[in-house]
């Protein structure tokens, strides 16, 4: 066997290796990275925009809606058990993290849920492999139409918001182990999309595995 045959044999042994990540997931994460990069430059301006938006919407009567907006009553977070036994968690805004923690526990997922930087110090990290963590939790970001309040805005673009979607597989959790979630939504208010979908609010999610205990996961 000459060198070419040897290297061909080596390369051919990898032909069964294929990526498992859909391009849509890469693009979704890439958009989130772009959004985070823009935060330092946009933070000041967006804070002003956010304050203005709050002031405006608080003055608008909610009954003058021109057409029903299907997303107008979206919950801050939702937990759905899927047919395959996985749990789909959608977080638009982390209001009532204790409620989300209780809901997950009721669905069989011991969890500690907090805002980023406020993790429960009673939780003890489970030193599992990244592969295990990946089998338990698949996080992603989605860009969705934002819930609209009041009459339609006079802006030409569609209001967008960034949403964290977590797919949790309880069956992959080792016995006595729970998940730890920490999220941040620093720019959750809808932002006009004139410049494209990369101009969206900023969200972040950190996740890991912890030893389940009454003080940590409840």
């Amino acid at each position: 066997m000459n060198d070419d045959e040897l290297t061909t044999m080596v390369c051919q042994s990898f032909t069964g290796v294929h990526t498992t990540t859909p391009v849509e997931q890469i693009a979704s994460r890439g958009r989130a990275v772009r959004a985070r990069r823009r935060i330092p430059a946009l933070a000041g301006a967006l804070a002003v925009v956010a304050a203005a938006a709050l002031a405006t919407t608080s003055l608008l009567p909610g009954t003058h809606r021109a057409s029903p907006q299907p997303n107008a009553q979206l919950a801050a977070w939702t937990v759905t058990r899927q047919a395959d036994g996985s749990i789909r968690v959608t977080i638009r805004e982390l209001r009532n993290p204790a409620g989300l923690q209780s809901k997950l526990r009721a669905d069989g997922v011991p969890a500690s849920v907090t805002l980023t930087g406020q993790q429960n110090p009673s939780c003890r990290r489970y030193p599992g492999s990244p592969g295990l963590l990946r089998r338990v939790i698949s996080p992603s970001f989605e860009v969705l139409p934002a819930p609209r309040q009041g009459p339609p805005a006079n802006t030409p673009g569609e209001a967008l918001s960034l949403v964290v979607v977590l797919l949790i597989h309880p069956s992959a959790l080792p016995s006595g182990i729970g998940v730890q979630l920490a999220t941040t939504f620093t720019m959750q208010l809808p932002i006009d999309s004139n410049g494209g979908v990369s101009k969206v609010a900023h969200g972040d999610v950190e996740h890991g595995l912890v030893y389940a205990s009454p003080r940590c996961t409840g």
């Binding site: 890469i26 990946r134 698949s138």
Partner: protein, 170 residues
């Protein structure tokens, strides 16, 4: 470049090169799950900087180089994750790896190579880069690339050929 066109370009790039990049990184790091994480992270960064990356003379090489750099950061990050209160931040693709495994003898022989030789093998053989481009990506001299590749092939031959010959009926 319009956003829609940019998306299409990236999707096509990903479709054409994702598997090759994954295999190249797998050769370098030796762990299927970790390779997938690293390649996902590198493609994510490529998407976020697609205007720049798309003009790179060899975008797949950019992805693999970024993945290998992230591999170093990943280990550093693991060490920093030791404190109890700090949550994990591992990347997460949509599905677990279900592809067919690599011949364990070949993988073991590759893992016995020094890291730099594995990187040269990854870029030269799996991404099909020429010597000059491989040297540029790794920041080493072209002559060093040639030397690493020659040593790697010699080692692989020593490791694999006796075993392969034993498998062949006489």
């Amino acid at each position: 470049m319009a956003v829609g066109t940019q998306r299409l370009d990236f999707a096509e790039f990903y479709r054409r090169s994702a598997d090759d990049c994954l295999r190249a990184v797998l050769v370098s790091v030796g762990d299927r799950d970790r390779a997938q994480d690293l390649v996902d992270e590198a493609f994510t960064r490529a998407f976020a900087s697609w205007r720049t990356v798309s003009r790179h003379p060899a975008p797949p090489a950019w992805v693999v180089r970024t993945a290998l750099n992230a591999n170093i950061s990943w280990w550093r990050r693991l060490r920093r994750e030791v404190p109890v209160a700090e949550p994990g931040m591992a990347a997460a693709p949509a599905a677990a790896a279900t592809d067919s495994p690599v011949d364990p003898m070949i993988m073991a022989a590759l893992m016995r190579l020094p890291a730099r030789q594995r990187q040269v093998v990854a870029l030269r053989l799996f991404l099909d880069l020429d010597t000059a481009r491989t040297a540029e990506v790794l920041g080493i001299a072209p002559s060093t690339v040639k030397a690493h590749l020659a040593r790697a092939i010699a080692s692989l031959r020593d490791d694999l050929m006796p075993e392969r010959q034993q498998e062949t009926p006489s």
